[in-house]
Symmetry: C2
Subunit: 183 residues, 2 copies
């Protein structure tokens, strides 16, 4: 028996309760480990990618983007949704980096999966470190607005540790990149 078998929940039924443009919300009926039933409300999501693009000088290409749920501009790494659940993660990361910042990269390092909200969304963000950057042409989606800046990784890590950078994928990806690069 799996050592975690005492924790498993089993799906009894699943209903889509909101079918939005961005959010697909489901309410599932589940059987708990003690045999009782309960409900689980969750978002089903195709997944996303995030990139820490580092220049030869140790600077990160970073974005300032308005985030409506917080009525605030956040500092974030370049990131974006997968077009489909089956889209190749690395190809998506290359596309998002190029579209949002105009940069292409020679070297891509897999930094693993980041799960933003394990309790209520199936979203996974596939994180990469990108090196060997070359400047190309930014191609933002229509109605996509963001500012792009270059900031030393060491400075961004200080902002993370001071609680000034709060976006989750950005905090995790910058601290992973810093450990990999010895910053």
């Amino acid at each position: 028996m799996n050592r975690f078998e005492n924790l498993r929940e089993t799906t009894i039924s699943s209903d889509k309760v909101f079918d939005g443009v961005l959010l697909k919300v489901f309410r599932d009926k589940v059987e708990l480990p003690n045999g009782k039933t309960s409900t689980r409300e969750l978002i089903r999501h195709n997944g996303a990618v995030g990139v820490v693009p580092v220049t030869d000088e140790g600077k990160v290409i970073i974005e300032r983007q308005f985030r409506y749920p917080f009525d605030q501009v956040l500092t974030e790494i370049p990131a974006g949704k997968l077009d489909t659940a089956s889209e190749d993660h690395l190809e998506a990361a290359k596309r998002e980096l190029s579209e949002e910042t105009g940069y292409v990269a020679d070297e891509w390092i897999d930094m693993g999966v980041f799960i933003p909200t394990c309790a209520y969304s199936s979203e996974k963000i596939y994180l990469y470190l990108a090196k060997g950057l070359h400047k190309g042409q930014q191609k933002l989606d229509e109605d996509e607005f963001l500012n792009v800046e270059e900031v030393p990784l060491s400075e961004l890590v200080e902002q993370v540790m001071a609680g000034e950078i709060t976006d989750g994928k950005t905090v995790a990806a910058l601290l992973k990149a810093a450990r990999i690069l010895g910053v």
Copy 2:
């Protein structure tokens, strides 16, 4: 003028489109920086707390919890939702640590805010490092199932860097704690 004024979106109207037990989903109409209108779908959330409890021997009290959206047991720091949006964050952190693990702590260090999903949820998780641990009595909610273990912080950081620990708040909080403690 604020340097980010070119990015701001303004609320025109807000509709609650799903009123669940856990999830409160809204569809808002907004005005974009270019004057056009668009919709924003989002979850409004009271917020949560997360704790990295470290023993005098450098071990972290960690949980293994089944997460339905992934049909998988994840390794996570002790965490939980605020009871109300106005609940004191530190008190909530003390409550969650005690209820889920049975531990109380002498020293609490603020590790800042973690935003799990800035695009579609207003949730903020307030992170703490807890030291000077004493064993008390675990008091799980009814229908809450999780296993508690003690694992050296250095080992957990290796698992984070190897991509074996994927829960976002856990990745961010462990890497922050490791930097603070010099691990």
